[in-house]
Symmetry: D2
């Protein structure tokens, strides 16, 4: 039942890469909320493969179809289901994965889990394509959150060893949020794009891939939201964000670097701002104390491992013959999914936040 997330707002994701279609059911949306589907599609384009640096619009076939839950541009309160048809299956590209699990892919683990009955074509239910559903659900949620004063933005914090300028953890301005929300290669400091693309290109040239880190900020959360212990901001966001394939770590506020600090360095001092609102001057706590929002932005970083699919030859096993073998993954593969992970992680955060309100 891993494909269902949430409590106050439940999303139920379905689909396999090369099946008939993929989609998501969102249950628990408030009724009467206007949803701009064009904006939803724009968010989905940010995640879609290809299109980066080009004006090529996505094919109509990739448009989600709304089967339920919307009427006259507004939510009805009933579960909202969106379906995206699969049209381009290319199953030939992956002809050998049944026998030879791809290193660092879910192939082997899923083979054991499902006794070999799972659909392995294109990664099946584990395909990155399924994240389109998360983006869809998140984009719907973000419009509702925005109306409640809550904005979410993320950027490529790093690719390989190339770093963007970090977010100001005490808050970023709305122009930056708007700009980032519209980009496929989202950077605070756009001058870093060339260096990052070079890093990606160098990996690609060798048939390799490269990982990175995504940083995400949630602004406008009122103080006092969340639950202690297992119902805290970090628990819920991490449970959602680890639902994004390739995420292998998450840290809030100063996170791992804060673990090397003194209390006097890491503690965020409170003060009354000019409007009489309690704030902190720094935001090492990342917006949550005891699991509950402090009123400061929620800020977290997620580690995205390098795409497992590489064309370099790798050692693996042959599950059919029971012998060790080698594998070079044929066909196109994306050498760096970090830019495309940005809107997915924003969306996962949005779904998580909807579950806190």
């Amino acid at each position: 039942m891993g494909s269902v997330f949430g409590n106050k707002l439940k999303i139920s994701i379905f689909g396999e890469s090369h099946g008939e279609g993929i989609g998501v059911v969102i249950d628990g949306l408030p009724a009467g909320e206007e949803i701009d589907l064009d904006e939803v599609y724009r968010q989905m384009q940010r995640r879609a493969p290809g299109g980066d640096k080009t004006a090529t619009p996505r094919k109509e076939a990739d448009m989600p179809e709304i089967l339920s839950g919307m009427l006259g541009g507004k939510t009805t309160g009933a579960p909202l289901c969106a379906v995206i048809r699969n049209t381009n299956t290319r199953s030939g590209d992956y002809g050998n994965i049944l026998s030879s699990p791809r290193p660092a892919h879910s192939d082997y683990a899923a083979f054991v889990r499902y006794n070999g009955a799972n659909d392995i074509r294109g990664g099946g239910h584990f395909s990155g394509r399924l994240t389109a559903n998360i983006v869809f659900a998140g984009a719907v949620c973000r419009q509702i959150l925005k109306r409640r004063g809550i904005s979410i933005a993320a950027h490529i914090y790093s690719i390989g060893n190339v770093k963007d300028a970090p977010f100001d953890p005490t808050g970023i301005d709305s122009e930056l949020i708007t700009r980032l929300n519209g980009e496929k290669f989202a950077l605070v400091d756009t001058s870093k794009e060339d260096a990052m693309r070079e890093t990606v290109g160098a990996a690609h040239a060798q048939g390799d891939s490269i990982g990175g880190i995504v940083e995400c900020i949630v602004q406008g959360m009122p103080a006092g939201i969340g639950e202690p212990m297992f119902g805290g901001v970090e628990n819920i966001i991490s449970a959602a964000v680890f639902g994004v394939p390739a995420v292998k770590g998450i840290e809030f506020g100063s996170g791992f670097s804060g673990a090397a600090l003194l209390g006097s360095q890491n503690n965020d001092e409170f003060y009354y701002d000019e409007n009489g609102k309690v704030r902190t001057r720094t935001n090492n706590h990342g917006g949550a104390l005891g699991g509950i929002t402090s009123g400061m932005p929620i800020i977290f970083r997620a580690a995205v491992k390098p795409t497992p699919s590489i064309s370099k030859e790798q050692k693996t096993v042959d599950l059919q013959t029971g012998e060790n073998t080698t594998l070079a993954i044929k066909g196109r593969h994306d050498p760096c999914i970090v830019p495309r992970a940005v809107p997915v992680i924003e969306a996962a955060a949005a779904v998580a936040v909807m579950n806190m309100l």
Copy 2:
């Protein structure tokens, strides 16, 4: 409802630092499991404040009392409830926290969340003392897991900038597990203890505190356990481990450092070992692929922020007067909770693992 965790095995934690008592109800334990309560108490002593480097036994009053769920040393299958009485309240130590929220503590967030009705004495429900319940629940689970071939160990990966030798992520030997499971200051390389204690002592001498990182390994998990997307190993473990106060980050396998690697560096190649078992030579994936166990150890690190309670003067607000003020936290405080976080994080992992089987 943040104090309830789990699905297949549910733990429900209650208590406030200075109330009558704290405790936990564990629902979903298999019946007929022998539980060595002395071993459970030993695990609880590893977390207990004081006692480190001394032979002083804990006071009887701190012993958990089993109210239900055990008969003749075995689980009955009914919910197991353990209660620990609070005897030493020292509420005077924290006399000013109502008006002045301690920086980096839950005080302010909880004040807003509960409209000031929460028990603030000693941190109330947010007190680190509540983690005794997690250790209790985890210690019970660990005995059951051990009978199924699953062992859990953790160590102080770092305090400040002093690092222990890391775990071999492909597996550690049972002697090391046994030794670590018995220690209050758990290190792979015990020669690092002096340097770590010096770091802690230096912080303490200045009325300050210091953070650190805990590394945890779960060995013996069969391959094929877990669910895709939101039901994966990382989702469930992170949702449990962020239930431990002061944890601000978690990473699996190569985690954040893996995000800077090439795919060819980070991918773990499969091979058949001498027993015909599929394994990987490295374990950058940390034991889970697509959320599902690979049969390799689950390995993760959790960032523990420095204890917020420090006696150095800090700026804060006075919620009663509405003015900015300063605060120096009086009374004893533990300058480094990282050693005591080790058994708590092991326990949280144990509860998480019980929810996967």
Copy 3:
């Protein structure tokens, strides 16, 4: 979030009567299970409006399309999504319901719940049409359950005051199960059909409707399944069965009539049967004791209220004018949904049982 049911097996239902389509996502199905979709469609036909007493096949358009979770006729272990398109909307039939809530329909309650934003055409998400999804999910589950020796059958226990012969609560033979599973008007004693149809016809002739009772049996459940208190057989089955619109009561075993009995009359005595299996000679307990299966059949009855839609004039309010008014529901309506409720209730029971195993 009311449209999601279950824990071990989760079904997530979506759709509105006059929207694009309806459907269900089933998460948690075991992988590798062969599913005969023709048999699934046959079960859906038993619920479908019309077709009773005729050989007219349903239109292709009403066939569910499987979007995911099946490959080569077997479950893949990934969420199974089935979608049924809506083609025939007839929204004109219900032109006045926005202003005048139909007595005993969900119209008024939903209007308040969703601030008038819900899709009211044809009842929207509350339409009986949505039960097609329950039948779909149940029919899939029933094939899996059958392989584990568990069969489910139901019949029209009564319509109005005309009663069928009741099930033998200690068990019915497999021929009867097979016969009932294939019928649209399922009766133990088929000689009662004429009297029931007369009762329905008499109501219909007056523009009225008539209620009834469905009795359902689950055979082959091993003893020892279920949880105490809130996780018992009765809790789970009732939570599922009240998901079927129009069900207003449920009783297990002797149920309400047992409440008038002496203990010595109602208690079911245990004995060893010829195979050394513990059984009871009577089955007033309905297969569950303390919420846990006894090994005897689970037997329950569900009260189905008369269809609210009647063409007789009724009093109601006009929500637009704020005045009392009258209403006669135009268009076709089914004067008795009890026969069609039979496969829906069987299906709800099947989904509930899958959540116990």
Copy 4:
């Protein structure tokens, strides 16, 4: 995990009849709610065995102790835990139940479920004594609900064939609610008490027991509360009420008798009352339409089977010898638990209602 109920408000019940103690953890209570514990205890006395028709106060030992979640008479927002010690174990009374399961008790089902490891003394976790926890939780909830205008009352609808006057389903007056809430033998028409006591006495004289029906009303629920399908009023209330041992059926509004009616008889017509509020003149729907409250009282009846424990000789099996045998249950037993079930069912309804708001 059957001993945990709820989502918005979770109760986690623990304890065995003859263990150290029983209790409940209530997670999700709003903070700052004043709770009159004397009133809570009074509700618990209504359920307590003995004391009926006498002035004997319960022993201090039976008083619940609040371990957490309350401070200065108000809820803190943290989980509230109450524990009741077991002092009087009388395990000798039930010396033979290990070998011979009592007909209609959970003994046999639990024996299989827990492989014989469960605590069988006094019924263990299945003991009716555990319902004290439900009454505790419900009594706390009822005080909170009352402040929101919601009242709950129940009465003995029938014992055997003796019936009380039914509730007016469109609403009862507050005096009747107050009176019923204070009684151990709660009747609308108190003149029926003698006949009911005679029926009970006659059963008792023969070493037998007798069942009955409890009717419960929830007044003051606003319209528009609840979710469609599986999250409806009936689903949630039935899932809670079937948590009360001995309940074998539940019906809402006209329930089973409504199943014999015509739509024109069973439909409740809407009208505007003198305050412009939408109401229905009858309440056959029992306060919920499509699972969502209509603003009319929620009314339901629960069938309570006769107590299984009777001193008459009954047939059963001997699980040790594998032979058929007989059993006469020794010791005191309550010949009719219906009066004591009244406050338990009210409490279960209160917990259910808290989960809807």
